[in-house]
Amino acid sequence: MASVKLTNVQKVYDNHVIAVHDFNLDIKDKEFIVFVGPSGCGKSTTLRMVAGLEDISGGTVEIDGEVVNDLQPKDRGIAMVFQNYALYPHMSVYDNIAFSLRLQKVPEDVIFEKVTNAAEILGITDYLMRKPRALSGGQRQRVAIGRAMVRDSKVFLMDEPLSNLDAKLRNQMRAEIILLRQKLNTTFIYVTHDQTEAMTLGDRIVIMKDGFIQQVGTPTEVFEMPKNLFVAEFIGAPKMNIMRTELVKEGGKYYVTPFGSKIEVDGAKGQALAAKGYGSRSIDLGVRPEHIVLAKKGEGIPCTLEVNEMMGSELHLHVFTEDGTRLIVRVPTIGLEQDERENLVQGHRLFVTFEGKVMHFFDPESGENLLN
């Protein structure tokens, strides 16, 4: 168990490509922190710098108060789970898990106890004598986690550990990682490109893009108060709808006018806008798909249905407005009559609307949230 502190950490490759710019982050003891972002955003590079697998071009990494920039990976007190499992193919599951302990010259009876304990927690006791090639993807990933578990390390690093698994297994393993975290009660740094994983696992999420931190916050914070357009669109599935529109201030109240409609901004958001001193101006308006509702005919924003995705408990309606802007609307199937559902076919005309309290306002040029 340990805190991790990254101060002005930078990664510059030989070809002068900057993968990570001035990364600053304080990770508290026993915190589960998730680095999330699209491919090439620098999240894995940052994790690898913490692990010691990548040289640090600038700044410092501290683990438990000690600067570890020049320490070998084995001396940093970390354990790591890799995306491709990275099991030793010529060793049995038992030997894979026991390998690091043998290098530390731990007595065999202690090794046996630790390995069997870890195997029991992970449900792989029956496979201890098998070679990794005789295991399924999920079992292999459990072995990789077991190998990290027995090291009693201060920090647990996970680099996209679930991305090679199928969707069902991924959900199952995600739940298992939550349980594992409760059992181990140590500091976790977890890298993923999947925002669902980030939201469900992390105490705090670090959202990255092009080597820069975009926002650090709890899952609720980043979802409800995204710092900028990138975070707003990245967090949440389907992604947030963005509409270029006008913010109008009339008689002390604020309105938005997307696609010819006029919707009042609700009290709290209106007050926040007033407190920041905004007048009428052009904005990018963000509304999450689940906050858009179907309106009665002739009310709200007229749209044409392009695609109707049946997701089981809800429909994802891909619609386009009269000016061609595409929106996604999440409609719970439970509230729909049979004939309403049957009407939702390609080309169907419908009307949508949303409430003022669910809006997000972004600067069209900088992309920053106006209320931050």
Partner: protein, 286 residues
């Protein structure tokens, strides 16, 4: 063309191909077959009835083998021992050092590594005859002219092909495995011997077989480098099966050739599965 016509054409094509391939196969096997036949034949019939089966008065039984092994004053078992020593030691050296070098070349992406790699590849296309005289001089001056030191010369000549094959295979091993080893507590040496070396097994076997076949059968290099009065390998021993006035006992020669190729054939038959696997692994994944 009807479906039946096209099927008939396909059958004809396959028959022609089978005949051609069978003919090529016979051409390849014929020299080996002639060695087998003539090793059991009385010497005088080897030249006159080369392809006849050793029956009747031509049948020599195992006398050619006994004659070959007891001919002259250099014991045959000594040649076998030197051949085995040189082959085993050279192959072991080649496998150990070239696999290490290949691992380094594949993992360290520097200019010098690329240069070494291309030099190794280039060395494969330089014919031995081009360097053999300077080599024998160098080997003499460096005292590499004994069966105990000639493996170093073989290491130099065998490095090209084996580094080429090992680099291809190492590149197919995920780097993450070695990174996991370094987090688990391995330094480079430990990583190599505990993690990389065992994973190289398929390529080790195929490179090992190729090197063993080459070194066991090699004639020119030991002939040029070794003091042949003192140290003879099997191919050199066979070359010295000459009687008075330079007459050669072909029956005995054929018998010793047969004896010398039997171990290699047995070895190849046991390991041929691994040869194909190893070569394919290096070539396809690399």
């Amino acid at each position: 063309m009807t479906k039946q016509d096209s099927l008939a054409a396909e059958r004809r094509r396959k028959t022609i191909m089978s005949v051609v391939l069978a003919a090529i196969c016979i051409i390849y096997v014929l020299p080996v077959l002639s060695v087998v036949i003539n090793s059991f034949k009385v010497n005088t019939f080897v030249k006159t009835d080369t392809f006849a089966l050793p029956t009747g008065e031509m049948w020599a039984g195992f006398s050619n083998f006994i004659k070959g092994m007891t001919f002259g004053n250099y014991p045959f078992w000594k040649s076998v021992a030197f051949s085995a020593l040189i082959t085993v030691a050279s192959t072991a050296l080649i496998l150990l050092f070239t696999s290490m070098a290949a691992w380094y070349i594949a993992r360290v992406n520097s200019f010098s590594c690329k240069l070494i790699y291309y030099l190794c590849v280039f060395s494969m296309v330089v014919p031995f005859q081009m360097v053999m005289f300077t080599l024998s001089k160098t080997a003499d001056s460096l005292h590499l002219n004994t069966p105990w030191t000639i493996p170093i010369v073989y290491l130099g000549f065998g490095a090209g092909l084996s580094i080429f094959m090992f680099v291809g295979f190492v590149k197919s091993i995920p780097l993450e495995i070695e990174e996991a080893a370094s987090i688990d507590g391995c330094g480079p040496v430990r990583t190599y011997f505990s993690v990389v070396f065992p994973m190289l097994k398929p390529t080790m076997i195929s490179v090992g077989i190729l090197e063993i076949m080459w070194i066991w059968n090699d004639y020119l290099l030991p002939y040029l480098v070794l003091d042949i009065n003192e140290y003879r390998t099997i191919p050199i021993h066979i070359q010295y099966l000459k009687g008075s006035y330079g007459t050669v006992d072909l029956g005995a020669t054929m018998a010793l050739i047969l004896l010398s190729i039997i171990p290699v054939i047995i070895f190849y038959l046991i390991c041929q599965k691994h040869i194909i696997k190893g070569v394919a692994a290096g070539a396809v994944k690399g």
